[in-house]
């Protein structure tokens, strides 16, 4: 790598910060090519598979409810929990960036609810769901 500009070219010419130009050639550091062939979500998928097994082992149906903010996820849940009261045991993992307002709404229906706050993230990874 060129010590002046950090570029990887062997021979090149470019301007320095003071406006003067320099050109040079150098041999790049010897490198080895490594095949990785790794799916980026492999780790997440493995945790997600464990989560699915956890649910299946308890004969629980897990439904992932995702939409844009304000579409009505919590309203749909409130109504569903009330309509199915006494027929099914329903629990909720509530994922939000910052607040626990939706947890409070679900809690008011009497269903067990856990709030997960994702901070700057806009999604729940499998390990967060597992922690919940």
């Amino acid at each position: 790598m060129c010590g002046h500009c950090g570029c990887g070219e062997q021979e090149h010419e470019h301007e320095r910060a003071d406006g003067t130009r320099h050109s040079h050639s150098h041999t790049p550091a010897p490198t080895t090519l490594v095949e990785l062939q790794t799916r980026v979500l492999a780790k997440n998928d493995a945790i997600a598979a464990r989560n699915r097994g956890w649910f299946a082992g308890r004969e629980m149906l897990a439904v992932n409810l995702v939409s844009s903010p304000g579409a009505g996820k919590t309203t749909l849940l409130e109504q569903t929990i009330r309509d199915l009261h006494g027929r099914y045991d329903i629990s909720v993992l509530e994922g939000d960036q910052a607040t626990s307002l939706d947890r409070d709404r679900i809690a008011a229906t009497g269903a067990p609810v856990i709030q997960l706050n994702t901070g700057t993230g806009c999604h729940l990874e499998a390990d967060r769901s597992r922690a919940g």
């Binding site: 990887g8 080895t32 090519l33 490594v34 799916r39 980026v40 700057t120 993230g121």
Partner: protein, 80 residues
């Protein structure tokens, strides 16, 4: 926004495989239907790689037809 998490995982995969050797180049394959935006991953990569074995590494991105997001290869310095 999930590109930041994806990029953290990319750097983790690369650094785990590289040990303490410096990484010069990483080649990624991003599928059209992977829901990952190449520009966002490029943007995140330099920041996430800072202070790791992949700091300053060049990121090459190939677009593919599928839905996979894969770390294909990396170039690392030869063992001393």
């Amino acid at each position: 926004m999930h590109e930041l998490s994806l990029t953290h995982e990319i750097v983790a995969i690369v650094c785990q495989a590289a040990g303490d050797r410096r990484v010069h180049r990483v080649t990624l394959e991003i599928g059209e239907r992977s829901c990952a935006t190449p520009e966002s991953i490029e943007f995140c990569f330099d920041i996430v790689a800072k202070g790791t074995c992949a700091e300053g590494a060049r990121l090459d991105i190939r677009r593919t037809d599928g839905d996979d997001l894969m770390v294909r290869t990396m170039e690392i310095e030869e063992a001393a």
